[in-house]
Structure formats: structure tokens, C-alpha cells
Amino acid sequence: MTAGATDSRTAVPAVVADDRRRWFRGQAFWLVAPALLLLVVCLGLPLAIVTLRSFSEPQWGLQNYAWFFGAPVNLTVLQRTFAISAWVTLVCLIAGYPYAYLMTAVGPKMRLILILCVLVPFWVSGVVRTLAWVILLQDSGVINSVIRAAGLGPVKLIRTQTGVVIGMAQVLLPFMILPLYSVMKTIDLRLMQAARSLGASPARAFAQVYLPLSLPGVYAGAIIVFILALGFYITPALLGGPRSTMLSTLIQNQVLSLLNWGRGGAMGVVLLIATFVLLALAAPLTRQPHKTGSRR
């Protein structure tokens, strides 16, 4: 099957003279075969089964979807899931962008330290980090002690959406910084000097030269963070209250407590489709930088 696909691919005459594509026509396909196989068996197949069950349980029909859109709590939580994910993405971007820039601007030793600062928390389990946030954010926690010492009233952080966003942003920050860094390190900083020498103010040189060139990294990071955030489960469960429950918690309840695979599946499918729609809407944005010539 796969061998046949490779052969037919080789038989198609190359239309576009793109280096990478020409290379891909050869045996390079086999490089992705293990990953592809893993995806099909471990993701594609279960996904297909879950989708099927959302239409077939308890009987064939759309009853699970009718239920989903008929219960106000589901819609509230769906909306909230997207809102929290958007906030997390924004916070990660604001915190990650200058950090990634700094990584490109410093010497190799400092860069190593900065990379380690990003990666070391990445090696610690998300659950452990989330529990650490419980200690930090709780009413009698470290952050509130500092605020109280400064003479200000206690701030409600834990079991609020703010707390959830903070905790999730910390867990997801590496997924924003790493793509940003990988794009930024390819940007020639002399372009900024050129812009300055042609009379642009620093702000303008950034806005018109550096920022557009870094956008592919921004989009890649934002999309990864946003999509990962949509499926978050542990962090909102531990740091959040009822008003920050996300869809994954509801899915978990349907499947694990009620054994209602049909409804759980329908919720998963709705989340998946909503994500695809959003990505499709964002797609034109991500293509733009290619046209303006970011590839050197």
C-alpha cells in the first residue's frame, strides 16, 4: 500500500521546482512512515471509533449532539474553554516573545542558561508544577503573603480563572518560546541596523522589519499553545473552581463516571471541529508572511 503510494508519487512529474519537494519524491517518504503509522494506529483509529460511537450510542442518530447543544452548561463551558485558551495564548506570547528575543541577542553561555531555564520546568511533570501553583496561589499562599505584606488586601487567585490562566501559561510557555526562538534565530539582526540607518526609529524598525519576520514563529507558537490549552485537564481541575471548569472535565465525567461514550464522544467531536474551524480562520494569517518574503 505505502510502497504503491510512493511509486505513484515518483511517477507524477514535478511541477514546482522546490528543492524540498524534489527531495521528498524519493525514498524520503519512509522517513515519516513510523510517525505516520503511529498516528494512524494510536490517533486516527481511536478518533474514528469515538466519532462513530458519538452517532451510534445508545442508538443511531444525532441524539448526543442534540443533547450537547440543548444543555446550556455545555455551551457555557465550550465558550469558556476557548476563552481561557485564548487568554493563555496571549499571556504566553507576551511573556515568551521578549524572552525568545533575548535568547537570540545574548552570547552562547547566557543562551544556554536561558534555554535551560525554559527546559528544566519542562522536564518536571505538569501535575507536580500544578500542585506547586496551588501552594503559591492559595489564599494563605506565598503570593498573597507578599501582597499582604505590601499592605494590600488578599487577592483571590486560586479557584478563579485568573489562577487557571497563570498555571496553564506556565506549563505551556516552552511551547511558545521554542518555536519563537527557532524563527528569531534565523532573523539577521543587521536588517534592523539597515532599517535604522535608513532613518527608522527603533519602534518602527521593530514593527516593520523584525515583527513581520518573526510572525511565523508567533503563529506556530500561538497555534500549538492554543490547541494544547483546549485539551487541558489537570491544571483547571486543580487550580480552578466551578467557574473555570473546562470541556475536558465534562468529557471525563461523561466517559469515566457515567460510561456515556456517546455523549463524551460528541463533546470531543464538537471541540475538534470548533478547533478546526478556528484554525481554518487563522490560516490566511499564517500564509501572509511567506508572501512578504520572510524566507531568505
Binding site: V73, S140, G141, P242, T245, L250, N253, S257, N260
Partner: protein, 355 residues
Amino acid sequence: MKKIGQVTALGLLMITTAALAQSKPVAGEVAEGSLKDKTLTFVSYGGIYQDGQIAALKEFVDKSGVTLLSDGPTEISKLQAQVESGNVTWDVVDTGDFPPYVYCGKLFQKLDFSKIDTSNIPEGQISECSVPAMNYGVVLMYNTEKYKDNPPKSWGDFFDIEKFPGSRALEGSGDLSGGMVEQALLAAGGSVENMTVADIDKAIEKVKSLGPDTIFWKTGADSQQLAESGEADMIAMWTGRAMTAVKNGAAYTPAWQDWLVVMDQMTIPMGVKDPEAAHALINAYVGKSAQETLAKTTSYTPIHKDAKPEVDEVTAAFMTNTPDKLKLGYQQNIKFWVENFEVANEKWNALMAGN
């Protein structure tokens, strides 16, 4: 002298056991070498609890020659997948209170009580598909510094935010606690006899009336953290976690009135390869010394009436099988909750999701 007495007693017991092996089971006993070359997989919730259960079963393993494997945590959805695919690898499963009632005859087999000695298990805790695995409770813990002279005494006080101002925390780990909903209904002026589905709404309104700062803790550790940091003034807590919090210095005290009786359930899934061996495990598990080991290692209350585990003072204070505490205990209307499992869970989860 005492030692010799014990050995003689043990010898006598063994002889009797051997004689009775064919007829009537004795809790805690298993025939020597009877399960040699066999393997059983016991599934529970992990942590010290499952470690304690395995420790309680050591005698059984040593004597019967069985190879005991441990797996978990218990997830009914995983069990369902096993039963549906006809490949059941979990032989004995420790579950929550509802599943053996909801899925009796579907996921769990009806137990053969000619193979399990249930004579020492407290009244009203055995069902067609399960025997209790242990007992514990949900108890009202209150902050002694906050309510110095006027401590709350019952769930009625817990739900009375005017007479007892302060923040509340209750279980929000997923499944609803039927007993807690019933207490909320009572506090709302409802009646628990002939409860209807509409009463669930009434009870949930009462829970909502506790205010926006009410905490729904997700895990036992979570609730313990709330007590140790003093985050909530009254907390509905599992007795084991309440005990640990007190040991760690939390200034909280229990109000035992109507503490909610909870038990885990020992079950055998449909389609296990060796039901005989699975029954033998349960029969050994409900034995006196097994239950004492369990209580000693986990601080959960044993389900053998005569079990007297050697535990420290605080642990003993939170054991729920003493006559005085058994008198104050409150048993949920399990029949109602099983019949209305789905609708009740949906309403409860809407509350959990902030709606």
C-alpha cells in the same frame, strides 16, 4: 504461655478449616496450596490504600500459593472495555459505592455467598454483587479558631450560612455524594423519604446558597491542604484525610452527627477466568486479621465486627466502627441514587461546572 495458646488455637483452626474446606467458608481462611500456579489480578485505587490491601492479603498469598498481581486505578470505563471485548484481566476489583449496584449482572457478577463468609460484616453493607472493602466516612470538620464558643454541630449548621458565617468546602471530585445531597435537602426543609428528582434541584439550590466562595475539592489531598492551610472554615472531609490533617496540626475538629457512611466495594467482574479463585480472595480479605492489617496500614475502618487494629490515638479517634459512632452514622438512600444515577450526576456536574 500466651504464645503456646496462640499456636494451639492456630493449629486447631487449621484442622477445623481443613475439615470444613469442602463445606462452609471461614472468613480469612484458604486451603493450603489450593491456588498454586494460579494468578489473580487485584485492582484498586493505588497509594497507601492499595498497599495496605496487598499487605492484608499477604497471608492469603503465602498460604494458597497464588501469584497476586496489582493493577489500577479502578476505572469502570476500562472494566467495561474488558468485559465488552471478552478479555477480562481484572479478577477482583475494588470500586466506589454505586457501580456494583448500577452494573450488577452487567459488569459485575452476582457473588456466590456459599464461598464467602459474610457473618462478621456490619449490617446492611452487602449487595448481590459486592461486599464492602472497608468503611470510612464523610465528616464535618470545622475550624476551632473560627468557631470558638459556638461550634457547628450538624450538617444543618454546615448549610446555615447566616448562623455560621464563613467559607465552606465540599467534595467535588466527580461523582456526586448522595448522602451530601440528602443532607442539603434536609437543610432546605425537604424530606428524604420518598425523595423525587425535583428534590435534587432543591438540594443543589441549597448548596448554591453557600455562596460563590464555596470550594469543591477535587482530591483527598486537596481537602487536606484546605484544612492545613485553613482556607475553608468548614470542610466536608473523608475521615482518613481529616485524621491526617489533624495529625499534621490542622486546628480542626469533627462534628460526628450524621457523618456519611462510605465504603468501597469488593467485586468480581463478569467473565473472569477463575471465579472460584476470585471468591477465595474476597473470603480471605474479609477475615479478621486481614482487616486488622488493612486498618493498621491505611487507617480505614475494618469491616470485620471483631477486628481490633492496634493504632495510635488520633487514628483511633477517626475509626468509625465504634458503637457510638455507628449510632451517629447516616446511610444514604442508595436505591434512589442508583435509580437516578444519570440525571442526578448531570445536575450535580452542572453545579460543578459553574452553571
